[in-house]
């Protein structure tokens, strides 16, 4: 089985993330880049499925030069090879265009199963599985907290607002995973050494036949009008429980007219 896992490098959630004053794009230089946390679950799921059913796991990343570090980490977890879409023309690319670039690569390299994270911690759109499925014309089995593959059949447990749905489709398909699906492994020392020799293909826009005006800030389908730091919350009152903590809390609620 030919499994492709889409992995995005994002600024560390714990760091202070900023937008750039000029073009309101994410300041990716000033903070550490890490693998989007949800994509670690996608990688783990890809590895487990390949271990169970045979096949290869390819990492697909679109991102700046420093995203190469995240690709190496994914390879050290056990993926076989990677494709890095790297082009200065991609700065400011939005979700819709990203899906076009990723779909183009997927069509070119071929796949049985595409796995993405349910959302990225920076953009938080949660649209990629749907957009890729739409572009590729294959079923979307998304928000999976459980994934089973049996021959050509794919079954997932889809996390919903009220519980879950059971969903069935057949390969090829696009899956998105939620963080309940597995426990991502840490790279082993052997894995880290082996990753250094694994092939990474770098593709630019020209290689993919994508015109520069279709992507990047110029081709973006949305634009930022303004942005501002939210004023910090006003410091509140904190009391220590001296046997009357519940009563004091009730007083506060009454003063605020909640009770």
């Amino acid at each position: 089985m030919n499994i492709v896992v889409c992995v995005k490098q994002v600024p560390d959630t714990w760091a202070e993330r900023k937008l750039k004053q000029g073009d309101a794009t994410l300041d990716r230089e000033s903070v550490d880049g890490v693998i989007n946390e949800l994509d670690e679950y996608a990688i783990e799921e890809g590895l487990q499925q390949a271990e169970a059913h045979g096949g290869e796991v390819t990492i697909l990343t679109m991102g700046p030069q420093k995203a190469a570090d995240s690709i190496r980490k994914a390879l050290s977890m056990g993926a076989d090879k990677a494709v890095h879409v790297l082009d200065d023309g991609l700065v400011g690319t939005d979700g819709l265009q990203t899906s076009q670039v990723l779909a183009q690569v997927l069509t070119r390299i071929g796949f049985d199963l595409v796995i993405v994270g349910s959302e990225s911690t920076d953009a938080r759109m949660g649209v990629m599985a749907a957009m890729l499925a739409e572009r590729l014309g294959v079923p979307q089995v998304s928000l999976a907290s459980k994934l089973e593959i049996d021959g050509q059949a794919v079954k997932i447990r889809r996390q919903t607002d009220y519980g879950y749905d059971q969903v069935e489709a057949s390969l090829p398909a696009v899956v998105s995973v939620v963080e309940k699906i597995n426990e991502p492994r840490y790279p082993s020392f052997k894995g880290i050494m082996a990753a250094k020799k694994k092939p990474v293909e770098t593709l630019g826009l020209a290689d993919l036949g994508i015109e520069a005006d279709q992507v990047g800030l110029a081709g973006a389908s949305t634009e930022v009008v303004s942005f501002a730091q939210r004023p910090p919350r006003q410091a509140g009152t904190v009391v220590k429980d001296e046997g009357d903590g519940g009563a004091k809390a009730a007083e506060f609620l009454a003063a605020q007219k909640f009770i």
Partner: protein, 318 residues
């Protein structure tokens, strides 16, 4: 006046409150036209009329409820082509956002997710990076598709005709790829829905066990609140996942949020920090959640919560 399409969210014939919020919002930008997929539109019509729906486009076939996101996207795409609406509004739920994504590809339109307000000119306000930055942006290409977070708007009644318009559409074969074979609803008592509630009481690892979550439920019930949980609590299986608040759970912005035995990791804060008033009960005075607290009690939740429940019982809830 151009139409503004509003995708109805409904389950078992019951319309979700967010749909009324979207209709209320849509009225400012055009004629609100609800789009309904699957059975149940007739029964919902009166409610939709109450909030000012001018029309209700209905794709009633059972198959429109049996596949993952393709039915809604196909119906919306055909209406976008036919009616050239001013915008399409969907709820920013997991499914709503996926429908928006598909529709964006189908119509070559820009999409904005998790909007919390819409200004004139369909400028959408979003709260990003765990709520630390407020961004205003708009769609440049195609028909603006905007996924609006539940509880961002107060639904306001205004009479509408809610004319039912049956659509003559068939689901394409390509749209039948991912079939829903079973739907499981995990209810936890008759409480307000998490994203719609005006008060939310959430429990975390400090609660200690599934049994002890009854303490959180009692506090919630004394306030007429919804129950939420941190990821530590849902991962441990103490409470079902759909009650998780945070980055990979639900985003809530109630009038009052009570965090009990929750440390306040950034991923948790991302889902609750725009709440109006925040109250914290935690035994560790250093827990980062206190930074957000309007009122905090440093203490053992097993002592503080029962006392609070008793006090509320005496004073009565408003």
């Amino acid at each position: 006046m151009a139409e503004v399409l509003v995708l109805a969210e409904h389950a078992n014939g019951e319309v979700k409150k967010v749909t009324f919020e979207l209709i209320t919002l849509a009225r400012r930008f055009g004629e609100p036209a609800v789009v309904w997929t699957g059975p149940g539109a007739e029964g919902a019509r009166d409610r939709l009329a109450e909030f000012g729906a001018a029309k209700v486009y209905v794709a009633a076939g059972a198959e429109f409820a049996e596949y993952v996101t393709t039915p809604q996207a196909e119906v919306l795409a055909s209406l976008v082509a036919e009616k050239s609406p001013a915008a399409v509004l969907v709820a920013a739920t997991g499914e709503g956002k996926e429908v928006a994504g598909r529709l964006a590809v189908k119509t070559g339109s820009g999409v904005i997710t998790d909007a919390v307000a819409l200004d004139d000119g369909l400028v959408a306000e979003q709260s990003i990076f765990g709520g630390s930055i407020v961004v205003k942006s708009k769609v440049k290409t195609g028909t603006p598709i905007i996924a609006v977070r539940p509880n961002s708007v107060t639904p306001q009644a205004e009479a509408g005709a809610a004319d039912l318009v049956a659509l003559d559409v068939q689901l394409s074969d390509a749209g039948k790829g991912a079939k829903i074979t079973e739907t499981v609803v995990q209810e936890r008592g008759e409480r307000p829905e998490l994203t719609e509630a005006s008060i939310v009481v959430s429990g975390g690892r400090g609660v200690g066990s599934a049994e002890h979550f009854s303490l959180i439920e009692q506090l919630a019930d004394s306030l007429g609140a919804a129950v939420g949980a941190s990821r530590a609590a849902t991962d441990a299986g103490w409470y079902p996942h759909q009650f998780q608040v945070g980055q990979t759970g639900k985003t809530v912005a109630p009038q009052l949020y009570l965090a009990v035995g929750i440390s306040g990791a950034i991923q948790h804060r991302a889902g609750m920090q725009t709440s109006k008033t925040i109250m914290v009960i935690n035994k560790d005075p250093e827990a980062p959640i206190f930074e957000l607290a309007d009122f905090g009690v440093v203490g053992d939740l097993f002592k503080v919560v029962p006392q609070l429940v008793a006090e509320i019982g005496q004073r009565g809830q408003v």
